[in-house]
Amino acid sequence: MIIAALTWWLSLIIIETLALVSTFQFGITIAMADVVSLNLLIATAGYITFISLRYYQPNPKNAVYLIIWSIAMAAICTIGHHYIMIRGPFPREATYYAYLDASQLIRGLLVWLMITLIGVMSWIWFFLQDLRAGERREHDTTKLARDAELASLRQQLQPHFLFNSLNSISALAGSRPEEARKMIQQLSDFLRGTIKKDDQQLVSLQEELKHLALYLDIEKVRFGHRLRTELDQAEEAKHLLLPSLLLQPLVENAIKFGLYDTIGEITIRIKTLSVDNQLLITIENPFDPQTSQPKQGTGFGLNSVQRRLYLLYARNDLLTTRKAEDVFYTEIKIPQPA
């Protein structure tokens, strides 16, 4: 960048010198002195303008300040140049000094044009930089907010689940300490699984099902007398990917819906399929169509999964629910990375 600018300026100096020599037949020394001193002055004025614009950027309405500034700079440069050429230790060529006096005005205009150009270019440069910084800030802010939201959605552990599990452990500790210890182990493994994972991370269905199994084991300690689960897993779906910790809240929702809406034994069915390069998971729970609330089944668990899928895939159609007689179906489709 700097090298390019220097090269450009050096060629400009050479061309201008050659032009003066060939047009007016000045000596090479005086011509060179004229061009170099003028260009150094312009460069200095341009640099000062550039630096000033870094700290003060007039908006288009105040462009008049920029014009006044550039005129003043141009005047100083022209007068300074004149002074240097008269006082400087250069060969006294009469034709040159006649030219210097006669070209004062046109030189001033040229210098003004150059400085204005530098000013406008600097202004645009800083304007674009500001714009880009603003965009980056905005992007960072949205990303932070999105990450935070994803993290909180992912980690929303149902306090009911935790306290009831602890209560079961408390009960087991008195009568069956070995089982209590086992359940503490299961609960720890489950909790560790919920905190270690990264939000954006995709995991294989197999891995997600392993985490789900921990959860189901705990729920069966609590509700073993009523809760049955069936897993129908397609072999080709095993290695498909999905966002981590997506399945468990859906199953938790289905279990709660099933357990609290009916009496007696319930079966939760989880089916996984690979369809058109998408992972399709269906969760079934029984419910009582007579008494269940219209709002039920769209509880917190489903909302948070819906929101997560939207944040990750910008789609609202990946989670669907439907009812058929006394079975409630929750379905998710997960697009696979290309």
Binding site: H160, L166, N167, S168, R226, Y260, I263, T291, Q293
Partner: protein
Amino acid sequence: MIKAVLIDDEPLARSIVVEYLRAFPEITIAQECNDGFEGVKAIAQHKPDLIFLDIQMPKINGFEMLELVEHPPAVIFTTAFDEYAIKAFDSHAIDYLLKPFSKERFEKALQKWLQHRNQHDPKPNPQTLLSDEVRQPEERSRIVVREGSNIRIIPVHEIQYLEAYDDYVKIFTAKEMFLKKKTMNFYEKSLDPAQFVRVHRSYIINLQQLTKIEPLEKETYLALLKSGMKVPLSKSGYAKLKLVLGL
């Protein structure tokens, strides 16, 4: 002998109460119940002095179960986490135990009740336990009633209107009528005021079922409901209805 009934849908949660109760030989456990339906029957059958009651249970929750019991015994709630219940029952229940609770905490609750019981026999009227101010943990979206030995759950959107009937309230759906031992004030407070309006000293109507308001005589009106039922409006009831409807 003191008789107790345990109502909780998790067997392990009941087993801990059973274990803690061994320190109180004067208390016998008459029955353990898996849900509110069993609870209602067990209470009718054994007439216990004390029940341990979970809140979140299948079909009907602990509050709804208590509403179905004619003469509820003393209640100690055992629940995992229910901020609403804790707020609402702060001053009403004998006690509530947050799961998991310690043996000391459990014994403190029982001692409190036993002392109270010895001082003021007969036992504290459990009806005051569920004072009219007590709100459901969630917005009331259904009413549970008893029909003989059956328990019916009525979604509130199916209700046409409620009518005062001595100590009872008649609850009308399009096809049926149910009786519930409650006051009009109770329902006026516990039902969503944007949906249910008390239009008369003896009537509360469901606005979703309202089709028409027609004049009856000078300054008196009738509300016509979707089912064709007609409900009289009092003067102030008519004014209130106009206000809610934004007329």
